[in-house]
Assembly symmetry: C2
Amino acid sequence: MRETITVSYRVKNDERDLTKLAQSIAIGQTVGTWNELSNELKLQVSKHLAEVISIEDSQYTSLINIAFPIENFGSDLGALLTSIYGKISLLPKIKVENIEFSESYLKKFKGPKYGIKGIREILGKPEKPLLMSIFKPCLGLSAGELGTMFSTQAEAGIDLVKDDEILYDSSFDLMLKRLEACLKAKEKANSKTIYAINLTGKANEILDRAKELEKNGANCILFNYVSYGLPLLAALREAISIPIMGHPAFSGAMCGSSNGLSEDLILGKLPRIAGADFVLFPSPYGSLAWDKDITKNIQHSLIQKMYNIESAWPVPSAGIKSSMVKDIAIDFGEDIVINAGTAVWENKDGGKAGAREFIEEVEKLALSKLS
Amino acid sequence: MRETITVSYRVKNDERDLTKLAQSIAIGQTVGTWNELSNELKLQVSKHLAEVISIEDSQYTSLINIAFPIENFGSDLGALLTSIYGKISLLPKIKVENIEFSESYLKKFKGPKYGIKGIREILGKPEKPLLMSIFKPCLGLSAGELGTMFSTQAEAGIDLVKDDEILYDSSFDLMLKRLEACLKAKEKANSKTIYAINLTGKANEILDRAKELEKNGANCILFNYVSYGLPLLAALREAISIPIMGHPAFSGAMCGSSNGLSEDLILGKLPRIAGADFVLFPSPYGSLAWDKDITKNIQHSLIQKMYNIESAWPVPSAGIKSSMVKDIAIDFGEDIVINAGTAVWENKDGGKAGAREFIEEVEKLALSKLS
């Protein structure tokens, strides 16, 4: 039997004939043409033809489920996106809601190298949510200034510090200098704090830069994988052995509307199989609140059982304040990263006090039983 | 004076305060935080702060125009997308409608190596639209079979033949064999026909494969740059010296709705500055018809004057029949590629006759004056 994955398309009910549409996807996205082929040719190419599994009709939208042969794209994620949603993406109001990956497909991927278990081991934190803070501001600060900010966080006992995703380096040397400053601060504080350094560069530089950062002691890479392309995230996973943090920058371009991919695909399953150990996404609280259902779906897609693929850390983000820590933990459980951004630096007693405020909230969580 | 580009965001009018929203984009997408900074720090990071230029209010939507300092992203296209539409993309109903690139920004890019002029020179066709056909079916056919199909097109006098964008090769060897078969067919037919071979592979293989294809005589690369990521298209432009054809597969994920990028950005300006010599997009006719205004905007963005950047070939596509040739030429002028797909192979007298039918329609165009 041929190996497949099943793709579910959410389609708006309008004058379209769903059976015809489903067939046109199954043919148009695989062999390209079918009815006009000779029987001999049909036999020859049929192993590549996708199969309409079912159509689930409901009042306003319907779900078309189609099985695609894995042979059509292998482990090439660019080919996957082209194959399941290439030309079809250009039709109105049709969205990829889910992909049911099969075991044979997932075996082609390594997934997160560390995941939830591995990161807990690195940090020596077997339980409770982790705490992360972010450099704010970031653009325009020197390596020394950022190193000093890192010190305050490492000394306070923050688990992870990340660059802002907009921190762009006009030369690789600037990135190396920042890394050096933060690693020195980490050493001085004798802390295990992970530093997620933002990786930028041209596509032909990205992998070499990542390797060089690793060689220079980097212990985590922050990567805007939607802006740079999901295939580059998968290549990054192959190129380096340190944890990777995926950022949702630009993902709203492809999950906010009636076309594109669902939130739990582009911020969940896809970066997870590609190898992200952490994935950030908008939380249901704070400055960029998304529906709780959507965020729970993303969390689920990052931690649900997926054959050989490790779980990745859900990082509900944006505008998180210390007063929200309890709610976040109640809503999402303990295997999450609490991403404290601007709030840390707005504390009137400085960034260290700001970090401590969050840490105390997390420590309190031990008293109550988390879900 | 600092160098900037101006980004126009289309925002749905709702309860949002547009002035506040514009400020939050200008701050949030650059320095990250502002009001809370000391005056000293404000002075230090201000060169990175974006500036709200204007807000154009209208009945249902408004346009927010913001100037971003080039220093925030340089020539790194992944950083550009993160910078102008990173976190902001996660807000509802806000779309990047246009980017007004400045001369100093465009100077960082080479744009199409050949463009309209260069491709006409290669083909020895100083005027009239070019004609392209596509392998249908494609998946499941051997290199020999595809080579035979190529023969029919080269002998008929077709200017370009492209792989279907869904043609994925499970090994690079298959790609090389197909190239060899098509180049042999081209030689035998003594034709100048350009063969756009579909480039697939993992992100770390793409550039090496492209170079190897060029070394083996390839004269054009077809690339699904939206699936693989725009930054990889720019890197491809740097890696090879043969023409590049950009395919719109997956682009509907980010231009079909109220979030994302406009059609003429993702299928026009962006692939053009990244270096595509041709860009395919849905035509206003045929099986996947888009509004004529949208397609004309795309065409305009591919050929409008843009400082040092050459024009790229507009390729209105999908379901094109020979009966449409005249209308296409009237609507789009002569500097276009007519992309004859399935129709060529459905001709009852075979693919060569199918190609001739299109060629005759193009030849007739000489009789009437094109716009």
